[in-house]
C-alpha cells in the first residue's frame, strides 16, 4: 500500500465537560473512559480490560517539572490541555465516576489513583478513596506523590482501604533522578531521591511484602546494568519493579529524545523476569564497559522457555483480586500502529514469534 500522509497524532477535545478540581472532579485515562463508557472507542485487539486509572486535577496542575512528563510545569500549554502518556485524560465528576464504576464493578480488575505534586493531593486522594470504597470493592492502588506524604499519611491510605502503593521512581539512579526531576527549570518541588526511597521503605513496612511497587523507566539515560541493579535491590526488599518504556511526550523537554530500541527493551523485559522469577544473580549476566547487557549465562533452553512463556513481555501492573493482571495500560507507551512494548494480554504464538525476532538472542546466551 502506498501511504501518502504521515503526521503525528493531534488529539482534539472530544466533548466539552465543564468541570472543576479534585476531589469533586478527577481525570481518567482514555482507556478507562472507554471501559466505563464515558467515551466511545475500542481497542485494536480484543481483550478484557478493567484497570481504571484516575488522576487528580488542579487548576495549577502538578508542581513538579519532570523532563519527560506530559504534566510537567514548564511544558507549554495549560494543565487542562496537557496530555499525559500522550493521550487525553477526560475530566469526570467524581461521584458520577464512582457510580459508573459500581455499575460496572464486575468488569473491573484494579483501580488506581495517581496523585500529583500538590499541597491538596493527600487530602483529596483520601477523600476520593473513601468515596470509592463506599460503593466499590475492586482492589485500589495509589500511585503516590512522595513530596506530599509522610508515614502517618501512608497509614491513612491503608486504613481507608488501599491495598497497594506505587512509587514513580522512574529514573533508576540518583544522578538521573536529580537531572530529570530535582534540578529542573521550575524547581524540584520537593522531589528527591532520598525522599522517594524513604516512602518506598515506609510503604513496604506498612503495606507488607509485594504490596508496593516502584516504576522504573527504560530510556532516561540509564544503562542496562543500572536497571538490573534496581531490580535486584527491589526484589531483595520484596517490592515489585514495574517496567515502563520511555515514550516522548511532544513539547516536553525530552519530546525529541528517542525511545529505547525494541531489542534493548525486549532484552530488559527478559532479564527482569530472569531476575525476579528465576533467581538470576549478578554473576549470570555480562555487561560491557558502558553497562550494556552483552551476555546471559545459562542454559539456552531454559532462557527460551522463559521467552515462550510470554509473561516477561506483559504489562507490569498491580494485580486483580485473584492475582490476575489488573492494571494493563493498553497502548500506554506506544502508538496502536507500533509494536506492543508491553502486552496487556498474554502474547499469542504470532506475538511470540515477533518477540523472538526482536530479542535477537543469538550470541547473547552463553551456555555454561
Amino acid at each position: 500500500m502506498t501511504t501518502t500522509v504521515g503526521v503525528e497524532p493531534k488529539f482534539r477535545p472530544r466533548r466539552e465537560i465543564v468541570g472543576g478540581t479534585s476531589p469533586e472532579y478527577v481525570r481518567i485515562s482514555a482507556a478507562s473512559a472507554m471501559a466505563l463508557s464515558f467515551r466511545s472507542g475500542r481497542f485494536s485487539r480484543d481483550f478484557a480490560f478493567g484497570g481504571i486509572n484516575l488522576l487528580l486535577n488542579y487548576e495549577d496542575g502538578c508542581r513538579s517539572d519532570c523532563s519527560y512528563c506530559g504534566l510537567a510545569r514548564t511544558r507549554p500549554g495549560s494543565y487542562e490541555d496537557k496530555s499525559f502518556i500522550r493521550v487525553e485524560w477526560p475530566l469526570i465528576e467524581t461521584d458520577v465516576l464512582v457510580d459508573r464504576m459500581a455499575e460496572k464493578a464486575e468488569t473491573l480488575t484494579r483501580l488506581c489513583i495517581s496523585m500529583v505534586t500538590s499541597p491538596f493531593a493527600y487530602r483529596d486522594t483520601l477523600e476520593i478513596t473513601k468515596r470509592i470504597r463506599r460503593k466499590v470493592t475492586t482492589p485500589l492502588s495509589i500511585l503516590v506523590a512522595p513530596p506530599t506524604l509522610n508515614r502517618t499519611k501512608l497509614e491513612g491510605f491503608a486504613e481507608a482501604g488501599v491495598d497497594m502503593i506505587g512509587i514513580g521512581l522512574d529514573a533508576v539512579t540518583e544522578e538521573l533522578f536529580s537531572k530529570h526531576r530535582t534540578d529542573v527549570p521550575a524547581g524540584g518541588a520537593g522531589l528527591s531521591w532520598d525522599k522517594y526511597w524513604s516512602v518506598v521503605r515506609d510503604s513496604r513496612e506498612i503495606f507488607g511484602p509485594w504490596k508496593v511497587n516502584c516504576h522504573t523507566v527504560v530510556g532516561l539515560g540509564e544503562t542496562d546494568e543500572d536497571l538490573l541493579e534496581i531490580f535486584w535491590r527491589l526484589a531483595w526488599m520484596e517490592v515489585f519493579a514495574y517496567l515502563f518504556c520511555f515514550n516522548p511526550e511532544p513539547d516536553s523537554r525530552l519530546g525529541e529524545a528517542p525511545k529505547s530500541t525494541i531489542r534493548r527493551w525486549r532484552r530488559i523485559q527478559l532479564a527482569k523476569r530472569l531476575v525476579e522469577e528465576h533467581g538470576y544473580s549478578r554473576g549470570d549476566f555480562d555487561f560491557d564497559a558502558s553497562g550494556a547487557l552483552i551476555g546471559i549465562r545459562g542454559a539456552r533452553v531454559a532462557v527460551e522457555d522463559v521467552v515462550d512463556e510470554g509473561i516477561a513481555f506483559m504489562t507490569n501492573g498491580c494485580p486483580g483480586e485473584s492475582g490476575e493482571p489488573g492494571c494493563t495500560r493498553p497502548y500506554g507507551s506506544y502508538r496502536p500502529s507500533e509494536q506492543f512494548r508491553d502486552f496487556p494480554f498474554m502474547p499469542d504464538v504470532v506475538d511470540l514469534a515477533a518477540i523472538r525476532g526482536e530479542l535477537d538472542l543469538g550470541q547473547l546466551i552463553t551456555e555454561e
Partner: protein, 147 residues
Amino acid sequence: MSLVVRGSYGIDTELWYPQEGDYWLAPTSSGYRVGFDSLGLEVNGTLSHFAFVGVGTRVNQGDPMGTLEAEKFVGPISAPVSGVISALNDEALAQPSLLYRDPYRTWLVTIEEVPKDEVSALLTGDAAVNHFFERVEEYRRMGVLAQ
C-alpha cells in the same frame, strides 16, 4: 444538508450510504466523494492519523484503501465502492479534527469509475436512515459507544 438526529447521532439524508461500513458518498461530476459518517468518527475513538493508497490506485469494494489510527485503535479503511482513487483531501488528512467539525461535508477521497451495480446498491432516504440507526444499536450492543 438535511440531518436526521436521534440521541447523539445524526445522518444527512441528502447523501448516499453503502450497506457496509461507516461512510457517506456524494456524487461529483466525475465520481464520488467519500467521507466518514458520524458513527465512523465515533466508534474507534478519537481519530488521529490516516494513510491512503495513492491517487490512481484501483480498489475493489471492501478491500483496504487506507488505514486509520485512533488513541487505542488501528485498523483498515475499506473501500465502500470499487473504482479508482482520483483525489485525496490533503487538508483533512493532515488535520483530522476537521472531520469532527463538519463530518458530512469533509470528504477524504474521491473515487471514479464506480460500477453501476454498486451505485444502485447504495442506500438513500428512509432506507439509509433506518440502516444508520440499526448500526447505532449494533454498536451499542458491542459496547463501543459512550453511554
